[in-house]
């Protein structure tokens, strides 16, 4: 055995694809980490007032003193962007979590029960989906005083539908697997089958949907705020920043819209990149490649 091992020269195959994947994951991971660190650490460390008005320095282009420039009342835009990102991220994560929990519960219930319960629930989902998301969101927000929580509720209410569909489809396909038959034959109750066999199987899919939903929810929040319906104007979110800056864009001042815009795009792309890599990982086909 030993002498045979010496004379063998081993060749590796197909490593190229993996390295670009690693690069993508690392870049996305670094950007997401940077975002999270920024929103968590910058406010307590810098101790500056993001609301500090300095009318003498209004609408200044980017400079060393104000890297992102200042807005129309002279507030530092970098600071405003970080605070805005903080609010947007909070809304995004809270809404995505709520939507995922509701969607998973409804989808799993529909899929596990089947029959008329399934049909009723899915008709409800269809009804909700038939109303344009933004319209439904506006309707919900309009019922409350402007604030963070109405926006979270509005975004969650419009986004649980897709998760419910994904989870239901997954549960339905899993329910036909012989291992569910085996569990039923082994005396497992409906509850046990759902909790022990079905939910753990859909959990990765649901979690992935949740991560992918965070950017979605952030965009939705921005859209509502841009329309002036989401967060009150004094609360810096990325949406309100762009909304309040749209007048200056016409006057040729690009920085008050560009930087908040980038702050929406970059973290959402990074999150989507991480989620995509994760999806490849949990895709069972990749695992079966390694099987002998």
């Amino acid at each position: 055995m030993a002498e045979a091992a010496i004379e063998r020269t081993w060749r590796s195959h197909g490593t190229r694809r993996r390295s670009t994947r690693t690069l993508r994951v690392r870049t996305s991971g670094a950007l997401v980490a940077l975002t999270v660190l920024a929103v968590l650490l910058v406010p307590p460390i810098v101790q500056l007032d993001q609301q500090a008005v300095d009318l003498a320095a209004k609408l200044q282009p980017p400079s060393w003193e104000h890297p992102f420039g200042t807005d129309d009342v002279g507030r530092d835009l970098l600071l405003r962007c970080v605070y805005g990102l903080r609010v947007s991220l909070l809304v995004g994560v809270a809404a995505a979590l709520t939507a995922t929990i509701v969607g998973t519960a409804v989808g799993a219930l529909a899929g596990a029960l089947g029959g008329w319960a399934d049909r009723a629930v899915m008709r409800l989902v269809d009804t909700f989906s038939s109303v344009p998301h933004l319209l439904l969101g506006i309707f919900v927000v309009a019922m409350f005083r402007p604030g963070v929580w109405p926006v979270v509720v509005s975004v969650a209410l419009t986004h649980w539908l897709s998760t419910a569909r994904i989870v239901r489809a997954e549960v339905l396909s899993l329910r036909a697997r012989p291992y569910i038959d085996a569990a039923v034959s082994g005396g497992a109750s409906r509850w046990r089958v759902t909790v022990r066999h079905l939910l753990p199987a859909v959990a990765p899919q649901a979690a992935l949907a949740a991560v992918l939903m965070v950017p979605h929810a952030m965009w939705h929040e921005s859209a509502l705020s841009f329309l002036g319906l989401g967060l009150p104007a004094h609360t810096a979110s990325l949406g309100t920043l762009i909304q309040s800056a749209r007048g200056s864009l016409l006057a040729g001042q690009w920085w008050p819209t560009l930087f908040p815009g980038l702050f929406i795009i970059i973290p959402t792309l990074a999150l989507a990149g991480l989620a995509g890599a994760w999806r490849e990982r949990i895709n069972p086909r990749r695992r079966s490649e390694l099987m002998l």
């Binding site: 012989p178 291992y179 085996a182 569990a183 039923v184 034959s185 109750s189 199987a201």
Partner: protein, 226 residues
């Protein structure tokens, strides 16, 4: 004793795959059901194990008619059957380690404390070594996984075993080993067996009586596509 009378079943009421099929398994008897693939014999096996509700027909277990299937069937009736399917990969929850897989029916029926002893005993019976018991399905071979699936089917000491193409994915030696385990179990408990398959040689060797699908299904059933 298991009696299937005039069973019609399928996934679409207009085109049932099983039409008017009758079959009896006497106490302690081993019946082999032979048929080509796609003829509906697996559906019949699921009906027999109370896993698929037939559109019409009667199923008698020890003379008493069964009226409910799947979760609606009383637990002690459901667990009177042990089932083994063709594809071990699809029959095992990919997240459970093999020892949990085997013990799952005990836990589901509230007999958790019996699990360690029973799993150790059955693992030895089906020939699984302790280090395999700590692995998940994707870390073992098809043959090893099917051994665990058979152990799971035996863990509640069923009165009837339903084996649907249990050995068709396996090599000759593993197939012979699993059949030997089933036969040992039947000899010590007197359990009945319904073995469904397409291998005439295997079923004739294994079972007391072999019936062909064409002989128990009403003529004019769905003709298998060429």
């Amino acid at each position: 004793m298991l009696e299937l009378r005039a069973i019609t079943a399928g996934y679409d009421r207009r085109t049932p795959v099983v039409r008017d099929v009758s079959l009896t398994v006497e106490p302690g008897e081993a019946v082999g059901l032979l048929g080509p693939s796609g003829c509906g014999k697996s559906t019949l096996a699921r009906v027999a194990a109370l896993l698929h509700r037939p559109d019409s027909g009667t199923l008698l277990l020890d003379g008493a008619p069964v009226r409910h299937w799947r979760h609606r069937a009383p637990r002690e009736v459901r667990t009177a059957f042990g089932v083994v399917f063709q594809q071990p990969r699809l029959s095992a929850d990919p997240r459970l380690r093999l020892d949990d897989l085997i013990a799952e029916p005990l836990r589901a029926t509230g007999r958790r404390e019996e699990a360690p002893d029973r799993v150790a005993e059955l693992a030895a019976t089906v020939g699984l070594t302790p280090d395999l018991l700590g692995r998940r399905p994707h870390e073992v071979s098809d043959g090893q996984l099917q051994r665990a699936c058979l152990a799971r089917a035996l863990v509640l000491r069923p009165r009837l075993l339903v084996c649907d193409e249990m050995t068709s994915m396996l090599d000759a030696s593993t197939a012979a080993a699993l059949v030997a385990v089933v036969e040992d179990y039947r000899r010590s408990t007197g359990a009945g067996l319904l073995a469904v398959g397409h291998d005439r040689t295997l079923l004739r060797r294994w079972c007391d009586r072999t019936v062909h699908w064409d002989d128990i299904a009403r003529a004019g059933g769905p003709n298998p596509r060429v």
